[in-house]
């Protein structure tokens, strides 16, 4: 089928310092990924188009883009699902550096701000694993799936407006530790998220959950964090 593709371009180095669109009409299969189309155009038509990608099957988090107005991974968006008129833009709210490539540093800084690592220095005397029941493990299973693609954070109206908001991705990762029965720093993380720019900036707009390619219940995770704060903590 014929696909009409509109691609966002910005590259001050090459004189394109005002964002604009390039358009292409190309032949595609309904099962092609949008990433395949971009690769095709880059390979055959215009090598200057720039975007990040690696795994090509939705597990590395490189290629979150705004496709037809909504955040998707280009490698998980099939032509048959997005239609044959496709507009591709960079994700919103992070500085655009070139075409679809945005500056991810602010995003990773937020991630780092919530202490994204297990805090627990006690290990069993026999050196073996700390025990955790399947139920306790299940408690935070959903939020371990995050691939830090930023689709959620850059779909959030509060994040667009307020770059001091940690954003849903950081909270998903905080949730992963707060509700891990092995972790001992839940209160510190909750304190960080109880502050300005934390969980209470979330207006439950729900774009994050809709955007998450890993189908994480992002808003739910944030709500659980909020409730953990207001109820004074979590019990395992």
């Amino acid at each position: 089928m014929l696909v009409y593709l509109k691609i966002y371009r910005y590259n001050p180095e090459a004189g394109r310092n005002v964002p604009s669109f390039d358009t292409y009409n190309i032949e595609a299969e309904p099962t092609d990924r949008v990433l395949d189309l971009l690769e095709h155009i880059k390979g055959e038509i215009d090598g200057t188009i720039s975007f990040r990608r690696s795994c090509a099957h939705g597990v590395c988090g490189s290629d979150a883009m705004r496709i037809n107005g909504r955040n998707l991974l280009a490698c998980k968006a099939l032509v048959k699902d997005v239609g044959n008129e496709i507009t591709v833009e960079p994700i919103l709210g992070l500085p655009v550096l070139k075409d679809m490539i945005v500056d991810m540093e602010p995003f990773f800084d937020s991630y780092k701000s919530i202490m994204p690592f297990l805090v627990n220095e006690d290990v069993p005397a026999d050196g073996k694993e700390r025990r955790q029941s399947p139920e306790q493990r299940e408690r935070f299973d959903d939020t371990t799936k995050c691939i830090l693609c930023a689709a959620c954070t850059t779909s959030c109206p509060v994040f667009w407006a307020d770059d001091q908001y940690v954003g849903p991705a950081a909270m998903v990762n905080a949730h992963r530790f707060i509700f891990d029965s092995r972790d001992q720093a839940a209160d510190k993380r909750l304190e960080i998220l109880a502050d300005h720019g934390g969980a209470f900036r979330c207006r439950t707009a729900f774009n994050c959950t809709e955007a998450c390619p890993r189908e994480i219940h992002v808003t739910q995770a944030i709500a659980e964090v909020k409730n953990a704060i207001t109820s004074g903590g979590v019990e395992y």
Binding site: C55, G58, C60, D180
Partner: protein
């Protein structure tokens, strides 16, 4: 403007191996990690099934059995001292990962959950054993995340999106690397006492692959260009179950949970090829069986694929036929719900890319290029070697898929790669720090970026009109056809010719992007150069081995030839000339014997 940085240890690659090395090296030495991708984008994150360790959490298992299975899986080409070391370390590193926070799936008693995987057996009963420690079907993702998180905790210094293009050496000693910063296009020189390569594999040489775009063999190509050898390149694993046409991996864990392979006639054909463990034979065996079925016209509708079936009714039917039981002795039964919770991502892949629900329909699969057993030769300490005699290259280390220790020999067992990453990543990190502490910075050459500039300028200034994708396409199809699952002398000879021709044409590659900032066009071209180098070296190494062993299956030499070929290939690339040498395999306990599953 070239910037120069100095760090005692420079680690190239931020996958499982690189991060583990970083955690250990940074404990005592000033360490920097360079990665062309953001660390969490590394391909370790794609690994699904699990990490092997004889924890014996649910049923009897022993480190010795794990060792033997690995030796056997390697078709006796693995070095047994290294294998023993890795398998003995396995429980310890798995516990270490748990202590770092890795959220393993759990057994009812709270211990780490384990599942079956191809080639892992109870040596007494010969039956598959529960050895693969897993976190649903995203074990690699959890390893990568956990290691990265611990690097943040320990304040490891990262240079993200720095693409390394050259290794610097002075008088045979490694003393740094040259990298281009993607954001600015500037070259940076990293002056180091120890350099650790952990750049992953090179599956992008083949048409159909489970590997990421980034898997372009940079590490092997860079060292080859610096006159160092690569080892065992002819051994490249084809995983039996890749999604039809896309190559996306369906983990062996699906078969571990009871899924079976079915041909066009509806037969469970693995019964014929591996009567004991059937669908859980090692990967080379299963991939070849699928090819043979397809060749005999037994593909689905006579086409070039077969089905992997994990519908609960099918799983239960065959589990009953096999008499499979749970650890408590009751018959093994599953529901769709349970399968979904054990392999959720697989279900998602099938729904997204195939539009089918694997709980209700069988999955169309075909073998996919998956894992490089070969790579930069190292010893058990991750120290890179420069010849068949085991001479160490001072200051140079390698770990992970880019390295060849060799623990996987001619064929890797599932779950052993993740294990390899952590065990040898750790070892390489420790040794790199030790080396850094006991030596001085070797002065850099006068113009350390010359070689790199030359490579880049050639691409940038070329107007030959050859396109990256065209050359790449031809390389991939040729390698798939002639240096794939089955090989013949003629096919490989023609592949060698083709690679030489493509390397000539590569000199005429021209690109559209002449800018500095995020010039991915330029880097794609550079990466293609690496792929071509590794492809040529692979084809020559393969052509020179007239036997079938592990992943290297020859139609004209269907048998293993231990008398003459129980040895590792060492390959050097000097311009267009490929030179080969051979190195003996270390054999300690297990004498080679015939391999039946």
């Amino acid at each position: 403007m070239t910037q120069t940085h100095q760090h005692e240890v420079v680690i190239v690659g931020a996958g499982g191996a690189g991060l583990m090395a970083a955690l250990y090296a940074s404990r005592s030495a000033d360490t920097a990690v360079l990665s062309k991708l953001y660390p969490t984008r590394s391909h370790t994150g794609a690994a699904q099934g699990g990490i092997g360790a004889a924890l014996a959490n649910l049923e009897p298992d022993k480190v010795e059995w794990h060792s033997f299975d690995t030796v056997k899986g390697s078709d006796y080409l693995g070095d047994q001292d290294a294998i023993d070391y890795m398998c003995a370390q396995a429980p310890e590193v798995v516990y270490e990962l748990e202590h770092m926070g890795l959220p393993f799936s759990r057994n009812p008693d709270g211990t780490i959950a384990q599942r079956r995987f191809g080639g892992h057996t109870n040596n007494e009963t010969k039956q598959p054993v529960l050895r693969s420690c897993y976190a649903a079907d995203r074990t690699g993702h959890m390893i990568l995340q956990t290691l990265y998180q611990n690097c943040i905790k320990n304040k490891v210094h990262f240079y993200d999106e720095f693409h390394v293009l050259d290794l610097l050496m002075k008088d045979g000693v490694a003393n740094g690397v040259v990298a281009v910063e993607l954001a600015t296009g500037e070259l940076h020189v990293f002056h180091a006492k120890s350099v650790v390569f952990a750049t992953g594999g090179h599956g992008r040489i083949w048409e159909l692959t489970s590997n990421a775009y980034a898997y372009t063999g940079d590490g092997v190509a860079i060292t080859l260009r610096r006159g160092l050898p690569a080892q065992d390149l002819e051994f490249f694993q084809f995983h039996p179950t890749g999604i039809l046409k896309l190559g996306i991996l369906i983990t062996e864990g699906v078969r571990g949970e009871g899924g079976i392979l079915v041909n066009g006639k509806g037969e469970r054909f693995m019964e014929r090829y591996a009567p004991t463990v059937k669908d859980l034979a090692s990967r080379d065996v299963v991939s070849r069986s699928i090819y043979l079925e397809i060749r005999d016209g037994n593909g689905i509708n006579g086409d070039r694929y077969v089905h992997l079936d994990m519908r609960p009714e099918v799983v239960n039917k065959y589990a009953e036929l096999d008499g499979r039981t749970l650890p408590d002795g009751s018959p093994y039964r599953v529901t769709g719900e349970q399968l979904l919770s054990k392999v959720p991502d697989i279900v998602d892949f099938c729904r997204t890319y195939l539009g089918i629900d694997p709980i209700k329909e069988p999955m169309p699969i075909q073998p996919t290029a998956h894992y490089a057993m070969g790579g930069i030769p190292t010893n058990v300490h991750g120290q890179a070697l420069s010849d068949a005699q085991g001479t160490i290259v001072p200051g140079l280390f390698a770990a992970g898929e880019v390295a060849c220790v060799s623990v996987h020999g001619a064929n890797r067992l599932g779950t052993n790669s993740l294990l390899d990453l952590v065990v040898f990543g750790k070892e390489a990190g420790k040794k790199a720090a030790e080396h850094a502490k006991s030596s001085d910075y070797k002065p850099l050459e006068a113009n350390p970026t010359d070689f790199t500039r030359q490579q880049l300028d050639r691409i940038l200034n070329n107007t030959g009109g050859e396109k990256i994708v065209h050359v790449a396409e031809e390389m991939k199809t040729k390698m798939m056809d002639d240096v794939g699952v089955f090989r013949t002398a003629d096919g490989m000879a023609s592949a060698i010719e083709k690679m030489r021709e493509l390397r000539e044409r590569y000199k005429n590659i021209s690109i559209d992007d002449h800018g500095k900032r995020f010039n991915t066009d330029l880097l794609n071209a550079w990466e293609l150069g690496c792929l071509l180098d590794v492809a040529l070296a692979t084809a020559v190494s393969a052509h020179a081995r007239p036997e079938s062993r592990g992943a290297h299956a020859r139609e004209d030499f269907p048998n293993r030839n231990d008398a003459e070929w129980l040895k590792h290939t060492m390959t050097w690339l000097d311009g267009d000339q490929v030179r080969l040498d051979y190195k003996p395999v270390t054999i300690t306990k297990y004498e080679p014997k015939e391999r039946v599953y």
